[in-house]
């Protein structure tokens, strides 16, 4: 997934990104118990590592995004998880930008929260091996929607910044369309897998 680099967006956008992120992060951290820390960290590490896996789709190679999945599994706590992963991606790989960590967290994290709502509403509480297909389906929808929303956010931000970005936006969005399907299938499979193997994880 494309993370926005430094110096691309108008400052009020990335500044606003920091503000929104600060608010959601503060709320999430207040909801987070101390005993959640090691769990969230290991999951964040898993998200980080999985997002390094590349697979080829047609001529291009894509990597997983997992924001929808993080949302499905962690709810509001997905936000700090995504934030930490983004900061590490920026520091370790120069992926994305420094000033844009806030807005990138919004682009990934807010759709994650929406994915959570979709999954929660659709799949309900009693997920288990018997209801695996239903969980998979809503996992897939949540995973797909999370990418669509992330793309819409990105497009909206680029276009608000300037009409010079029209073509770039078209390019970015169109190259990411296959990723929507990939991510949907991916999230669906993982959710189905967990429903079969360790359904208690949804009840944490």
């Amino acid at each position: 997934m494309v993370h926005i680099s430094d110096g691309v967006l108008a400052e009020w956008l990335w500044g606003g990104g920091w503000a929104v992120t600060a608010v959601i992060l503060a709320y999430a951290l207040s909801k987070m118990r101390n005993e959640d820390v090691p769990r969230l960290s290991v999951i964040t590490a898993a998200v980080f590592v999985s997002s390094l896996v590349h697979i080829s789709v047609g001529p291009t190679s894509v990597h997983f995004i997992l924001n929808g999945f993080a949302g499905v599994m962690l709810g509001i706590l997905a936000y700090p998880c995504i934030f930490v992963a983004l900061v590490l991606q920026c520091f370790l790989f120069g992926h994305g930008g420094v000033t844009t960590i806030g807005i990138n967290a919004v682009n990934m994290g807010v759709p994650a929260l929406i994915a959570y709502l979709i999954f929660k509403t659709g799949a309900g509480r009693g997920i288990g091996p018997e209801t695996k297909n239903r969980a998979s389906l809503f996992g897939a929808i949540a995973g797909g929607v999370a990418v669509v929303l992330a793309l819409l956010f990105l497009a909206a931000e680029l276009l608000t910044t300037g009409e010079e970005f029209l073509e770039t936006t078209v390019l970015v969005v169109s190259t990411h369309i296959p990723i929507i399907a990939v991510e949907a299938i991916f999230t669906g499979v993982i959710v189905g897998f967990i429903a079969t193997v360790e359904p208690e994880l949804f009840r944490r």
């Binding site: 494309v2 430094d6 960290s41 290991v42 898993a46 980080f48 900061v87 370790l92 944490r204």
Partner: protein, 268 residues
């Protein structure tokens, strides 16, 4: 393999000796300052300052450039695409099948160059900022800067377990290959990898429980402290004054420029 941003963390340079808290804040400020510039000359000045900082830090440029490849790949399209448009507003240069490509003019080239330079400068500054002390020290510095404790703990543990899980996934990946699996661009590949990743998550949850148990059995009651102490001296303040001062100077120059030469997009 997970990056080794801190491969050159133990070189002897003034930047390495600089208190990491001061270094983080100062260079962070400089990055923001450069990103806020809209004057090509000043952006170039910022870039030169980044190069100087990297030079002082003794981190090899070859290393920096190789690590910047990704950024190049991301920002280069901007440089190529922005100067051209599909709308009928500029100088038409080509048209195929009803789609007309036109050139927006020199301002747009300058605009694109500025975006690319800012992005590269920001990323280049990450090296003197982060690459001059080991990642764990950097994370401790975040704590020293009074970031929320839970967040700092998340950074520390995540960073630690990235390596453990990366090894774990590498082994699974090898197990896949050694049983005849080949990544192709098809659904089978996608679902197989998805399952392997799902397994990584299931195992991660279990590992998380065990780690938490281990922490509890070492007396963890919510907060984490370490023995590490930062001691800021005069030199740390001087360095900070220098870099932050430069960042402010850039902004001052930009403000004057906005009044003075506004409209004429610089004159390289």
């Amino acid at each position: 393999m997970i990056s080794e941003i801190d491969r050159y963390a133990s070189l002897p340079s003034p930047i390495h000796r600089w208190d990491p808290r001061f270094r983080l804040v100062s260079i962070f400020t400089l990055i923001f300052s450069v990103v806020l510039l809209y004057n090509l000359q000043l952006v170039v000045t910022g870039m030169i300052s980044a190069i100087i900082l990297v030079y002082i830090s003794k981190i090899p440029f070859s290393f920096v450039l190789s690590r910047m490849k990704l950024v190049f790949i991301f920002v280069l399209p901007f440089f190529i695409i922005i100067p051209f448009t599909l709308t009928n507003t500029g100088l038409e240069i080509a048209s195929f099948g009803g789609i007309t490509v036109s050139y927006r003019g020199p301002e747009s080239v300058e605009f694109a160059a500025m975006i690319v330079l800012k992005a590269l400068t920001a990323v280049m500054l990450i090296f003197p900022m982060i690459g001059t002390s080991r990642m764990d020290i950097t994370i401790k510095a975040l704590e020293g800067l009074h970031l929320p404790n839970k967040l700092v703990q998340m950074f520390a543990f995540t960073y630690r377990y990235i390596f453990v899980l990366d090894d774990e996934f590498t082994r699974t990946d090898r197990a896949l290959t050694s049983r005849g699996f080949k990544k192709r661009g098809n659904l089978y590949t996608l679902t197989t990898i998805s399952k392997a990743i799902a397994m990584l998550f299931v195992k991660s949850y279990e590992r998380a429980d065990r780690v938490f148990y281990a922490m509890r059995s070492k007396g963890y009651a919510g907060t984490i402290a370490t023995l590490h102490e930062f001691h800021a001296g005069r030199q740390d303040w001087i360095n900070a004054a220098f870099v932050v001062g430069f960042a402010i100077l850039l902004q001052v120059a930009a403000t004057f420029d906005a009044f003075g030469t506004s409209g004429t997009f610089g004159g390289l």
